[in-house]
């Protein structure tokens, strides 16, 4: 237990060190560029680069006069966005896993569909999002679910590709052994291939977790969904002239939301690794 605590303390320290370094860089840049009168690449004035402490203090000032503090309002927004992201992550993860299994079973299916799976990722999300929202609206889908579908669109791809890769990772000798036991395709899949694919899948899930948050934020924009981070980010970017620190503070919260989600997936991965040492060893 002591080891775990020490590890936690050490990672806490290193995170703190990065934050301090970033603040020093930011403020140092402002100081030097102001002193030298430089304007490029970014002007150091307070409107373009508000002081880090102003951004930090904004978190604890009311978001609206006499209202709750900014951080509470935005954490609530982040929670809603995370919920959409999570549902999209689950849908996208399931679809991606299903595609991976389908492709490993049928080279025909892989050859037929893989080009479209790849092509789907070259279509920008900002083009897809409004369509999903309009279609979802027509069939009376709740708006947040449309947003989740947009998030799913960003998440299924890494999972599909890595699942396929992982399912193919067992040694041919291992596959032959399974065959010699006369195991069915399903048994081979669940007892050999899926466990072997888990490290690949977890890597994909971490990418997907971050992507799903982006998908949810972008999806909220055409959905006009209230209460999430996307709408607030847009609103603050419009008010950038008068209150730039609010946009930076909201971006900070959005970043934290993404980190929290990826952290959760990492924690689950750790649990899985602990529980399955025997398999991996």
């Amino acid at each position: 237990m002591g080891g775990a605590n020490r590890r936690l303390a050490r990672s806490g320290l290193s995170i703190l060190a990065v934050v301090v370094a970033f603040v020093l860089l930011w403020e140092g840049y402002k100081l030097v560029w102001t002193a030298m009168g430089w304007e490029n690449p970014v002007s150091p004035d307070d409107r373009t680069m508000p002081h880090t402490w102003d951004i930090f203090l904004t978190l604890f000032r009311p978001a609206q006069r006499n209202g709750p503090p900014f951080i509470l309002v935005e954490l609530r927004a982040a929670l809603m966005t995370l919920r959409e992201a999570f549902v999209g992550f689950v849908i996208g993860g399931a679809v991606g896993f299903g595609l991976g299994v389908l492709f490993v079973r049928s080279t025909m299916a892989e050859r037929a569909f893989m080009p479209y799976v790849v092509a789907s990722q070259t279509v920008p999300i900002i083009a897809i999002a409004p369509m999903v929202v309009v279609w979802g609206g027509r069939i009376d889908l709740p708006q947040w679910l449309s947003v989740s579908l947009i998030a799913a669109y960003l998440t299924f791809f890494p999972v599909a590709i890595n699942t396929l890769r992982g399912l193919r990772s067992p040694q041919p000798t291992a596959m032959e052994l399974m065959r010699s036991y006369a195991s069915t395709t399903n048994e081979t899949l669940w007892k050999l291939q899926v466990p072997a694919a888990m490290p690949y899948i977890f890597t994909a899930l971490k990418v997907s977790a971050a992507a799903s948050v982006i998908g949810a934020i972008v999806g909220e924009l055409p959905a006009g969904l209230r209460g999430g981070l996307g709408r607030d980010l847009l609103q603050f970017s419009q008010q950038f002239t008068a209150a730039p620190e609010k946009l930076f503070a909201a971006v900070l919260i959005a970043g934290l939301a993404g980190i929290a989600f990826v952290g959760l997936v990492t924690a689950i991965e750790h649990r899985w690794v602990q529980a399955n040492r025997r398999l991996i060893g």
Binding site: G67, V134, G137, A223, Q235, Q238, Q239, T241
Partner: protein, 382 residues
């Protein structure tokens, strides 16, 4: 061009879905609302008619009248259940109307005319804003006082259908601007002197400048620091009509819907007129509908929005013909999609708005006495 046509094509897909859905829907009656005179509130409201209103943007004072009509129960009194759909990026109310995603939509007249050319069969049933909210803002010390002073200057505009008043003024004053600059939706380009004249809405971006700290004084920028060209001003007169209420022509042609629309307009106008007196209450309603909106900014906005509506020369919502003609004339000249297109007067109708105004009886439907309040803006609009 091709992409937008393609997308418009896609937008029709949901229509088929809707038609299919409607086929299975047998509940077509109007629940026994005597449409007698078609104006007054129904005597007995058994089941309110559900309708949707599509805004162009998020909740803000620009839409105060609608929120007040909803939250204060004015729509309910008219036996309506109104769902307010907030706008967002990529949401075009005219297209939402065309695809049946809402019964009522708010749109600027020139943008709506362009959508009509693109196949959206929509008509204006009430012109809520009689004046344009667009300004061109420069620094007071720049010497820019009329569009004639733009000679050789960098003039910003937003594009996306927000630029016609600027272009019309350039043509009218026959100036050779130095450069027409695409401006983002903030005022930063003006504050950093990248452009000499920035496009701004009097109820939004203009206020944002006045909410920003002037680094030279440490205080907020003051109106005296700025020189403002107002497109409504007689000396410029290139203003085009903005927020109006539009409906799908097919929808309004269905039996009973004119009467629903009249009730909707009655309650909406009641909401706006209510804000003339209950100013603070209206700001409160807006703030309750947007948890991150700044109070002083919304006070400023409502003050200016009311100034765009009132005084209403024919009563709120009833089209001012002269301004319609001016808008159409400029649109025909400046809007590529509308050049050589004949825009007939049946694009708008005034009978429903007039009926709503009449139904309001003694209410202050023209707001003749409206005078702007003094609003003290706070840093960041808070």
């Amino acid at each position: 061009m091709n992409t937008s046509r393609w997308r418009r094509g896609l937008l029709w897909l949901p229509v088929f879905a809707l038609v299919l859905a409607a086929c299975g829907d047998t509940d077509g009656g109007d629940d026994g609302e005597g449409g007698g005179d078609g104006t007054a509130a129904p005597a007995e409201c058994t089941e309110p008619d559900p309708v949707r209103l599509q805004l162009q943007w998020f909740a803000q004072s620009q839409f105060a009248g609608y929120y007040v009509a909803r939250d204060n129960g004015f729509y309910e009194e008219q036996c309506l259940e109104v769902e307010i759909l907030e706008g967002a990026v990529e949401i075009v109310p005219q297209q939402v109307l065309a695809t049946g995603g809402a019964e009522f939509g708010i749109a600027w007249v020139p943008k709506a005319l362009v959508s009509r050319e693109g196949g959206a069969d929509i008509i204006n049933i009430a012109q809520v804003f009689e004046r344009s909210g667009t300004l061109q803002v420069s620094w007071a010390d720049s010497g820019i006082e009329t569009p004639a002073d733009w000679e050789g200057k960098k003039v910003g505009n937003w594009g996306f259908g927000n630029e016609y008043e600027v272009l019309a003024a350039i043509e009218k004053f026959d100036v050779e601007v130095g450069e027409l600059v695409a401006q983002d939706f903030t005022m930063n380009a003006l504050l950093t002197d990248e452009i000499d004249a920035a496009e701004a809405m009097i109820y939004n971006e203009y206020a944002q400048v006045l909410e920003a700290v002037n680094p030279d004084t440490g205080e907020l920028y003051q109106p005296e620091d700025l020189s403002v060209i107002d497109y409504n001003d007689e000396s410029v007169a290139t203003a085009m009509l903005q927020d109006g209420l539009w409906v799908n022509a097919d929808w309004i042609a269905e039996e009973g819907n004119e009467e629903i629309a009249t009730r909707f307009l009655t309650a909406t106008f009641q909401g706006w007129i209510h804000c003339l007196d209950a100013f603070d209450e209206c700001v409160e309603v807006v703030l309750n509908n947007g948890s991150t909106l700044g109070q002083s900014h919304q006070e400023w906005q409502l003050n200016e929005i009311l100034g765009l509506i009132f005084p209403a020369s024919n009563g709120i919502g009833v089209m001012n013909e002269e301004l319609w003609d001016q808008t159409v004339a400029i649109a025909n000249e400046q809007v590529v999609e509308l050049q050589g297109v004949e825009i007939t007067d049946d694009v708008y109708r005034t009978d429903l708005a007039q009926a709503a105004v009449d139904a309001l009886g003694d209410a202050d439907v023209t707001g003749d006495g409206y005078e702007r309040r003094e609003i003290e803006l706070q840093e960041g609009g808070s």
